[in-house]
């Protein structure tokens, strides 16, 4: 018991924290709240959900129409996923800008958390079994067929049949349920690794002199962050709950009718745009995975004196270009594959990756 | 000032009375808050709500 208190004490109360970390450092704790919201709402949804292709869509309608507060649980879970990604992108961007990636173990565990979260969100999106769920699952699982030699075997192994059908939905539900718990474990490691050396700070300087205790300063700062997030989250949930939802997903899945524009949720659009920019199928799939995994190269290619990008005007500009590229790729991902958008997408893909390729040579420019 | 003193001595000083006050005031606050917001809501959407249209049609 005493030991447990000691852990809490070391994590949340007496933890020495840099005094100068800005509001950009709030997003870690906000992501913890996102996970909590998703876990709780998800458990309640699973009590009424039926993972079968004949009933999944109708069980969701049952949840929204008949279950007490079912409509609320459902939109919280759906928009909560979007919120999770929104803040995770900001959190990652913070890490890239301020050089937090130099803590290699934290960075690698964080990247793995992001990949796991993406897998979880993809699996969860299939569960309502609407048109976009079904066709999204079909398109994304089909990507694996690009793997030479093993591809087709792998795809039917994942499907558990010859197309996306009942076994696929069943196993997606099982994995969607279990992955968040694995995610919790990974987040614990993420935190343990972080607390080995403590948080980085906006100056990126080694800061051992000016540390303050986590409580009351950061408990209350985080609380303020939570309140801001809650008010925005509740506003979206109550005023425009289906803002980010694709209208196609209100139609039950039909393997005979392909929707005119198949596109994933907004948080995958950047990766989807990169995938479609590469003419070769295998190359596209590789680029898709590389778009996330390439952030792992950052700690190994960084060779500048100061951690934080705020010390280098060039890095600031490059980072701003990177962010706008990310947003423009998200926009391109929602566009049909037509002449102006194909070329724009390809240029943006090159700019996206070149941010990481330029990184090892920055010391020459910043001299 | 004496009010604050009385408040402290009679309510905040002991955890038992403090907790009781919180529970009792939460009950009354929620009741008042719900009635207040619903009254505003009914006034805001006057003439559009079901109760209003039923009154109108039965006249």
């Amino acid at each position: 018991m005493k030991k447990n208190f000691k852990i809490i004490n070391n994590f949340l109360i007496n933890l020495p924290t840099p005094s100068n970390i800005s509001y950009w450092w709030n997003f870690g704790s906000i992501l913890g709240v996102c996970l909590l919201i998703q876990l709780i709402s998800g458990i309640f949804l699973s009590m009424h959900y039926t993972p079968s292709i004949n009933n999944a869509f109708y069980s969701l309608i049952h949840i929204t129409r008949d279950v007490n507060f079912g409509w609320m649980t459902r939109v919280i879970h759906a928009n909560g996923a979007s919120m999770f990604f929104f803040f995770m992108f900001i959190h990652t961007g913070r890490g890239i800008y301020y050089g937090s990636f130099l803590k290699k173990k934290v960075w690698i565990s964080g990247t793995l958390i992001m990949l796991t979260l993406m897998a979880t969100a993809f699996l969860g999106y299939v569960l309502p079994w609407g048109q976009m769920s079904f066709w999204g699952a079909t398109v994304i699982t089909n990507l694996l067929s690009a793997i030479p030699y093993l591809g087709n075997t792998l795809v039917s192994w994942i499907w558990g049949g010859f197309s996306v059908e009942n076994p696929t939905l069943n196993r997606f539900f099982s994995f969607h349920f279990i992955l968040p718990f694995i995610l919790c474990l990974m987040i614990m490691f993420h935190l343990i690794f972080l607390h080995e050396k403590g948080s980085s700070n906006p100056l990126g300087l080694k800061n051992k002199i000016d540390k303050i205790s986590f409580h009351p300063y950061f408990t209350i700062k985080d609380l303020y962050g939570f309140m801001l997030v809650f008010i925005m989250f509740l506003f979206i949930n109550f005023k425009t709950p289906f803002l980010l939802n694709d209208p196609e997903n209100f139609t039950p899945a039909n393997p005979m009718v392909t929707p005119p524009h198949i596109q994933p949720e907004w948080y995958f659009l950047f990766a989807y745009a990169i995938l479609r920019s590469i003419p070769n199928k295998l190359g596209g799939v590789l680029a898709l995975f590389m778009s996330i995994i390439i952030i792992l190269t950052l700690p190994f290619t960084m060779n500048l004196k100061f951690k934080s990008s705020s010390m280098y005007l060039v890095k600031k500009i490059l980072f701003l270009i990177f962010c706008s590229t990310f947003m423009l790729l998200t926009w391109i991902g929602a566009k049909p594959v037509e002449p102006p958008f194909i070329l724009i997408g390809q240029i943006l893909t090159v700019i996206y990756f070149s941010y990481f390729l330029v990184n090892p040579f920055l010391y020459k420019i910043t001299k | 000032m004496s009010f604050n003193k009385a408040l402290y001595n009679n309510i905040f000083r002991r955890s038992s009375t403090f907790a009781l006050t919180i529970c009792v005031s939460a009950f009354f606050f929620e009741r008042a808050f719900d009635m207040g917001t619903e009254a505003f809501f009914r006034n805001y959407n006057k003439g559009k709500l079901f109760d209003d249209i039923i009154e109108r049609s039965s006249e």
């Binding site: 609320m72 303020y224 801001l228 706008s324 | 917001t37 805001y44």
Partner: protein, 312 residues
């Protein structure tokens, strides 16, 4: 302008920041030895990138000649008119009459039960009477036979066709979709449904519409299987509202948006409640944060050089 700004902010501009850190950062800045041209080049690069983004955004929002369908204009719906606006339940009730007398001939409304009308469009007695008008297939009875009985509140609104094949066979191969979530399941939502219902016109020159199809510029592709359903005075409203075509279309669109969002009015009430409570909590936590941090934010840091090493 500048003078009043100076009066307002002069003191604050003069005041030194308690932290000396920003000045130290200036010393570290790698941009100091740069030539003016280099700074200008990098700035213009940034401006160009931002400008390109703005241009793309402007293009995205202005040029929409990509496809041949007409995008519906935005209409002022009851639910979008104000922050906490509910449905106009009188309109929803009229919309139910339109659905029952016009749409129900081909379109199902399979997820709506008569009990859901209670307290939304009809009183309990009225909803019971509505349910009893419909004959619902039930069974099997004690002898294993299916039979028809008058509907109850717990019954769902019956479908016009037993299955999709029967619906297609009766409608030239076109399937009339279920209408429960129709405003949610179409791009453009209520505006689209209203525009479809009122947008029928003769096909323009050069466009041929096949037998059994009708021209509607709002429908993707232009040729829609559904014939124009709403005309002036096609039904008579029980509350005496003049049944013009646009009135009919507006009411039925409102009704169909309600069937897709039966929780909408509750949501608006919760929006009001949660915004009040959360603004108090945001304000309180903001104050608490500033309060707790005040001693840290107002501290002064001095650099005390270590004593010089003693002379030997």
């Amino acid at each position: 302008m500048a003078a009043s700004l100076g009066r307002l902010y002069g003191n604050r501009l003069l005041k030194l920041k308690p932290s000396s850190i920003p000045k130290q950062i200036c010393l570290y800045s790698t941009a100091q030895p740069w030539t003016k041209g280099r700074k200008a080049m990098l700035t213009s690069l940034g401006v160009l990138t931002g400008g390109a983004g703005v241009l793309l955004y402007a293009l995205e929002n202005s040029v929409k000649a990509g496809d041949l369908e007409l995008h519906p204009p935005k209409y002022p719906w009851d639910v979008t008119s104000g922050l906490f606006s509910t449905f106009d339940h009188a309109s929803v009730r009229r919309g139910y009459e339109v659905y029952k007398n016009v749409c129900a001939a081909c379109h199902s409304l399979q997820f709506v039960a008569y009990r859901e009308l209670v307290g939304q469009t009809h009183t309990e007695e009225e909803a019971k009477a509505e349910a009893e008008e419909a004959m619902i297939e039930d069974g099997p009875d004690a002898e294993g036979k299916y039979f028809k009985r008058p509907g109850k509140l717990s019954d769902y609104i019956p479908k016009p066709y037993p299955n999709e094949e029967a619906a297609r066979a009766a409608n030239n191969g076109a399937y009339p979709p279920d209408l429960t979530y129709i405003t949610m399941a179409r791009h453009g939502g209520q505006d689209y449904i209203f525009s479809i219902l009122t947008g029928y016109c003769d096909a323009p020159a050069g466009v041929t519409v096949q037998e059994g199809q009708h021209y509607n510029p709002y429908f993707p592709g232009g040729a829609i299987g559904m014939a124009q359903a709403l005309y002036n005075e096609i039904i008579e409203y029980s509350d005496g509202t003049p049944a013009t075509q646009s009135q009919l279309a507006k009411d039925v669109t409102n009704f169909l948006h309600w069937t897709g969002n039966p929780d909408h009015d509750t949501r608006m009430l919760y929006l009001l409640k949660s915004m009040i409570i959360m603004s108090v909590l945001v304000g309180w936590s903001f104050y608490w944060k500033r309060f707790k941090w005040s001693n840290l934010k107002t501290r002064k840091i001095f650099f005390k050089p270590p004593p010089p090493p003693p002379k030997v």
